[in-house]
Amino acid sequence: MSGAAGHHPGFIRTYIFSTDHKTIGIQFLFTSLVMLLVGGLLAMLIRWQLGWPGQPLPWMEKLAPDGMPGGVMVPEYYNMLFTMHGSIMIFFAIIPLLVGVFGNYLIPLKIGAADMAFPRLNMISYWLMPPAIATVCAGFFVQGGAAASGWTAYAPLSTTLGPGQVCWIVGVIILGTSSILGSVNYVTTVINLRAPGMSFFRLPLSIWALFITAIIVLLATPVLASALILLLMDSTAATHFFLPAGLIIDGVAQPHSGGQVLLWQHLFWFYSHPAVYIMILPAMGIASEILPVFARKPLFGYHSMVYAIAAIAVLGFLVWAHHMFTSGMNPTLGTSFMASTMVIAVPSAIKTFNWLGTLWRGSIRLTTPMLHALAFVSMFVIGGLTGLFLAASPVDLYVHDTYFIVGHLHYVLFGGSLFGIFAGVTFWFPKMFGRMLDELLGKIHFILTFIFFNAVMFPMFNLGIAGMPRRIYDYTGYAHLAHVGGLNRMMSVSAFCLGLAQLLFIVNFFWSLWRGRRAGNNPWEANTLEWATSSPPPHGNFVTTPTVYHGPYEYSRPGASQDWQPQHQPAPAAH
């Protein structure tokens, strides 16, 4: 671990309170993969209840004596499970995996910098995450249990719940602070620390995506943090920002007046719709990075891809109220949000077509990262297209808050973000740890994940179309849902298989960490700067600062002796 500058910090400064962006990236990786596992296990319990409503799981009584007395789940516990599943996956798994891991690890390496602009700020941004996780998860151990008002925490329900909900609010505020600090750092680093010759239009797409994502985080997260502070005060300090006059809760008339329930939804979605793009843009960047490498072709339409990301980022701030078509807001406002939502489909379409253009007449190698990147493209298309049903507000009147939404969001966040994360982790694992992942295990993991993911998530569209509401503990009482039990059981079986398949990833990860084949500097024969240094890179990243001569996607250039042209090597004169 001795660096180029002869840097010899002690164990604690190297592995725990490190200011090295690579160590921080890997800390984010392990923390958020653990949370991904936790979130996934909660999903298994949710699927148990939906597949076999009211059937006991006797061994669960020991783990959750209040939530599952005798192994039979109670409704409150079910509400906690989906709330915590959503919150953990979004705030502690997907956002930190995409932004925390790849942002930290890749930005300095790919722009040719020695580290981040603000290494200490970076360290603080990671070290706010464990307390945030601990605070949110502490909800499971306080009286009344964890937060149970959904990851959206709609007021006034969220203000009526117990201390678990307050834990959730405080934890998410801490996490928001971490995100804001991290994004200040990313934006500054990309603007100021690019290597000589690395102009903005020579940046790899992944860096463009992370840069624009950081700007979104910087603009949107303070709104969430402010809204959460107002909600916290409504819950604990007897204010009533979101609480109108005349509420009667549990038979007790409440003293509030003057609050506005829909205000919470406007503030929440003003953050949370951009947050959807926080969770998808970096994955788009990763796919745009991996497809050219394994198609051995320049990225099709580099400039269009950059403008499309920028367009999504801007439009992403103008569509939030499409989550509120049925909320009782003015129907005329619904029209304008329907229009802006349809517009945002255009840049997404541009990106998809350019990915296809990148594959066209390529020389495609189906490695594990490539398979995940292709699955990202394919599944994101389903996620995007099903969004049109929700954009068409009259259809949304029907499918809103049904399983159709649950299917849509899982195609975006699992089919999109998580396949993007798997693509990124398998692609950069050799750089991070100096060893290759096992390809065979990787492919088997991919195939099982792909098949069972679709088997769990696709039928959700059918359930939604049949009118099954989301967030519902037991659907068996409803006449119009009398026939969906079998389908739900099939989905649950697939979900358990999907969960088991992830064991392969874990085994592969740890086996390869110690026993994998040595990677060398540039195992994928890729162009970007991170492959110009050793694997793993030394402290300070580069022995000498690289100079950049051309864009990142010079593959299969005619007349060149090899089919890749690293950014730090001048290209041979074209003839």
Binding site: P75, P244, Q260, M338, V346, I364, S393, M490, S494, S556
Partner: protein, 249 residues
């Protein structure tokens, strides 16, 4: 890399998934799809749904098909190198403008239905209020004076009746948290928000027994916040209403 093992895994996984799917669908026998429609605007919403389905289905097969063909056609082959190109501005413009035009068409189509369902309601034959509360629906009909919120109102809990072929204007309210008034067969859903007066209208097209679902998480009893709706002939409806009055609510 042993492609054979990969093939075994694929067939194994499909071997689990397909019988499971067959069991799930075969066991129930019924298609998991749109429930029957019971309101005047349900056919318009269903039609829009099928328009979007056709459109997205077409794009789905186009994109996934192209992806699959490219993956098969352009797999790495010895001696063949990739085509060196950074893109083409003409195709960029085409695949920007074409989706944009299609979306404008869809927007116009949607707006027509939206202003019908959620715009100014048509003249109504009947006015009632539905008030959500954890975890029940309080239904309030105007009494003989024809006005809501007077002493002679008729109220029921979880029991709602509507006369067929008559337009009802429903006011929505809530006393505690947000609920959402959802009747799948009407294809309509509207939140009952504390502090706000919501409004929706509906003209039932045929008689039947339906259920009112709460579609917005409202607490631990959310799943069982279920009301019952009977759509009856106008005469039967009046008789039922009179009975409620005699019941002395």
């Amino acid at each position: 890399m042993t492609p054979r093992l990969v093939r075994v895994v694929i067939s194994g996984a499909l071997g689990v998934a397909w019988p499971a799917a067959a069991w799930a669908f075969g066991g129930s026998g019924a298609r998991v799809w749109l429930p029957e429609s019971y309101s005047t605007y349900a056919p318009a919403i269903d039609q829009l749904f099928y328009v979007v389905l056709g459109l997205t289905g077409g794009v789905f097969f186009l994109v996934q098909g192209t992806l699959l063909v490219f993956l098969l056609r352009y797999r790495r082959r010895p001696g063949v190198s990739a085509h060196y190109t950074h893109g083409n501005n003409t195709v960029e413009i085409v695949w920007t403008v074409v989706p944009a035009l299609i979306l404008v068409g869809l927007l116009i189509n949607s707006q027509t239905v939206w202003s019908h369902v959620r715009g100014t309601p048509p003249p109504h034959d009947l006015e009632l209020e539905v008030q959500g509360e954890q975890f029940a629906w309080n239904i309030r009909y105007a009494g003989p004076d024809g006005r809501l919120h007077t002493d002679d109102d008729i109220t029921t809990i979880n029991q709602m009746q509507l006369p067929v072929q008559q337009t009802a204007l429903v006011h929505l309210a809530s006393t505690d948290v947000i609920h959402s008034f959802f009747i799948p067969q009407f294809r309509v859903k509207q939140d009952a928000v504390p502090g706000l007066r919501g409004r929706l209208w509906v003209t039932p097209t045929r008689e039947g027994q339906l259920e009112i679902v709460c579609a917005e998480l409202c607490g631990l009893g959310h799943y069982r916040m279920r009301g019952f709706l009977t759509i009856a002939s106008p005469e039967a409806f009046q008789a039922w209403l009179a009975e409620q009055t005699q019941g002395g609510t």
